[in-house]
């Protein structure tokens, strides 16, 4: 399809980032509205792309500068990234609305800088997901990471600077490893276009250079997403950043990296390579993912700071998706992709709910939740809903992806992974009921709810958790299955 929507999705936030930068010299008030406008455009155009893909069941391609694919850079949207694009722009849009009050209060003069970085960050994420070129992906990944480092450093405390620098060191190593991997693939294939590499690689599957390239790509992506032994940067980086920053980075960054992993595995190297040539490796990675799930859960239990608890929940959720993708059967892959979608919403909802709590109470310890349910009824309702979803109670979306993952684990006869998934549910029960216990069984002195601009996004996302849960069947059948059929045959 010849259409401008793919370009529009990425270009609008990019151009508006500069427009906001210029306008902030003249009028600081309209910066927010400009940012909002650009994200609305990005959201609508990504929805249009998804609509087009599902109605015509064909892939959307966009040639940048009119150059044909193997030479020029191509934007290529199939069922996988067509599904993820709208969610990214949706989360970015809602978070911008929820952040307005907070940013006005905390960053009086630096507000416009935040909007610039925020738009560039969103541009990077959308670009990483939309692109069909391996090197282009690296550049956009670095745009995302650089803005993430600077936004985390906006926390303004010594710890946030240190966490940001730590993240930067590991992020550079991760991105450089990915770049090296792409280099090795390029030596052998002479191409950077994903479709082209996918076409050429089967002839040289036995090459050691390709193996080295694959390993470098995977390790780089794992560092960036924070898979268990490589997760050390994650908790501090998300804990010490301002809440409106961690609210966007935490749901999107790690999940987009999991998307990149799935893309590299199944659309660049192909299942014959990952599951055939490297037979046996997938069991090891699933074992690693199971360890991530259990260790993340245990570390979450041992924390007293709510923000740290949330970070370790993310570490354990990463294990779900990596494990599901490497199980190597359709159910596991469906579960992993559905969980990318669900986990973006769940993590965002979780951070929104606690963001409201931190905004009104300015305290982050678990015992500070006393009297929460009486004092902030709407926020607590959202919190209960997202808690149920992360635990995996049926009408909410968390249940369905976990169901597919467990099915996949049983199908692959990987009982350890299945057990760790169920164990993680139990750990989440303990975690959330500890919140509920502290919040519910103590009297509220007065009623002080967060501002409406923060409640409304929470309400929308909580509603989405149920809607996506109920629609899981049709999402899987109409969108995810199409990709899985292509990827796993």
């Amino acid at each position: 399809m010849e259409t401008l929507y793919p370009a529009l999705t990425v270009i609008t936030p990019l151009i508006f980032a500069f427009v906001v930068g210029i306008v902030s010299w003249i009028n600081k008030k309209i910066c927010f509205w400009l940012a909002l406008l650009s994200l609305i455009v990005a959201f609508i155009s990504s929805l249009k792309i998804l609509f087009y893909i599902t109605t015509t069941s064909s892939i959307v391609q966009y040639k940048l500068g009119g150059w044909p694919p193997p030479i020029g850079i191509e934007y290529r949207i199939d069922w996988l990234n067509g599904l993820i694009l709208p969610i990214i722009s949706f989360v970015a849009l809602l978070n911008l609305i929820a952040s307005k009050r907070f940013m006005e209060k905390e960053f009086k003069e630096k507000e416009s800088f935040f909007y610039i970085l925020y738009l560039l960050f969103t541009t990077g994420l959308l670009g990483v997901v939309i692109t069909g070129d391996l090197f282009n992906l690296y550049v956009l990944l670095e745009i995302t990471s650089l803005t993430a480092y600077s936004m985390i450093a906006m926390g303004g405390t010594g710890r946030s600077y240190l966490a940001s620098l730590n993240y930067l060191f590991l992020g550079v190593i991760g991105a450089s490893f990915y770049l090296l991997g792409v280099g090795y693939v390029y030596i052998k294939t002479g191409s950077l276009n994903m479709v082209d590499v996918f076409r050429i690689l089967p002839h040289i599957y036995n090459s050691e250079t390709v193996l080295v390239g694959f390993i470098f790509c995977m390790v780089g992506v794992w560092i960036k997403m924070g898979l268990f032994p490589l997760h050390t940067w994650l908790p501090n980086a998300y804990t010490f950043s301002p809440i409106s920053v961690s609210r966007i980075i935490a749901p999107l960054m790690t999940k987009v990296m999991i998307y990149v992993m799935i893309r590299v595995m199944f659309s660049v190297f192909g299942r014959w390579y990952v599951l055939g040539r490297l037979y046996g490796v997938n069991e090891f990675v699933v074992l690693l993912a199971s360890c991530a799930i259990i260790v993340g859960g245990i570390l979450a239990l041992s924390q007293r700071d709510i923000r740290k608890v949330l970070c370790y929940i993310i570490v354990s959720e990463i294990g779900y998706m990596v494990g599901g993708a490497w199980l190597g059967n359709p159910n596991g892959l469906i579960g992993a992709i559905l969980h990318i979608l669900n986990d973006m919403l769940m993590t965002f909802c979780l951070f929104l709910a606690f963001g409201n709590v931190f905004y009104t109470r300015k305290k982050t310890k678990i015992e500070d939740l006393k009297g929460l349910f009486g004092e902030m009824p709407y926020t607590s309702a959202g919190l209960v809903l997202v808690g149920l979803s992360i635990i995996g109670i049926p009408p909410t979306c968390g249940f369905f992806s976990k169901w597919y993952l467990i099915l996949g684990a049983l199908q692959a006869k990987d009982h350890f992974f299945a057990v760790s998934l169920i164990l993680s549910s139990l750990i989440n029960v303990i975690l959330f009921f500890r919140f509920f216990e502290v919040g519910l069984f103590s009297k509220a002195s007065y009623k002080k709810e967060a501002p409406v601009s923060m409640i409304v996004p929470l309400f929308i996302v909580s509603l989405m958790l149920i809607v996506v849960g109920i629609c899981s069947g049709s999402i899987v059948n109409k969108i995810i299955n199409e990709f899985v059929l292509v990827a796993l045959g």
């Binding site: 090197f135 550049v139 670095e142 650089l146 480092y149 600077s150 450093a153 405390t157 010594g158 710890r159 600077y161 240190l162 940001s164 620098l165 930067l168 060191f169 550079v172 190593i173 450089s176 770049l179 090296l180 280099g183 390029y186 030596i187």
Partner: protein
């Protein structure tokens, strides 16, 4: 033994890049001073640039500008020209590494203003005292 030496001699550019990269890696892990770590990070990234640049090189080849004039179309022999694509990619990678370095230095300044030191162990002990 001879085989290994042969391997090293024919692919010396890759060995050099791995050697430089490991120096950078060691610096990032082993050094205590944050600025030294940043310098090591830059070395690490430069090694990758070297890898890419050496990848596009060919012996007895020239820069990729076609020798013939515009109106005479002759067959182009790819052996005669170096591969420009990796070199062009590295222009972007250099920009990325410079901007990463800039962001990192800015954060390092902030850390210095906050803790009055750039030695990592001193910063960590400072944090422990506060807790």
């Amino acid at each position: 033994m001879e085989k290994i030496l042969d391997e090293v001699a024919t692919k010396y550019n890759y060995w050099i890049y791995i050697f430089i990269m490991m120096i950078g890696f060691y610096g990032m892990i082993g050094k205590n001073n944050l600025i030294k770590k940043l310098a090591a990070m830059n070395i690490f990234q430069t090694a990758i640039i070297l890898f890419y640049v050496s990848m596009g090189y060919k012996k007895n080849a020239t820069i990729p500008i076609i020798k013939t004039t515009h109106d005479v179309i002759t067959k182009i022999n790819p052996q005669e020209y170096m591969n420009p694509l990796p070199h062009v990619l590295m222009l972007t990678a250099i920009v990325v590494s410079v901007s990463t370095f800039g962001v990192a230095l800015a954060i390092a300044i902030k850390i210095y203003q906050h803790y009055n030191t750039l030695e990592e162990d001193e910063i960590l002990s400072n944090i422990k005292e506060k807790d």
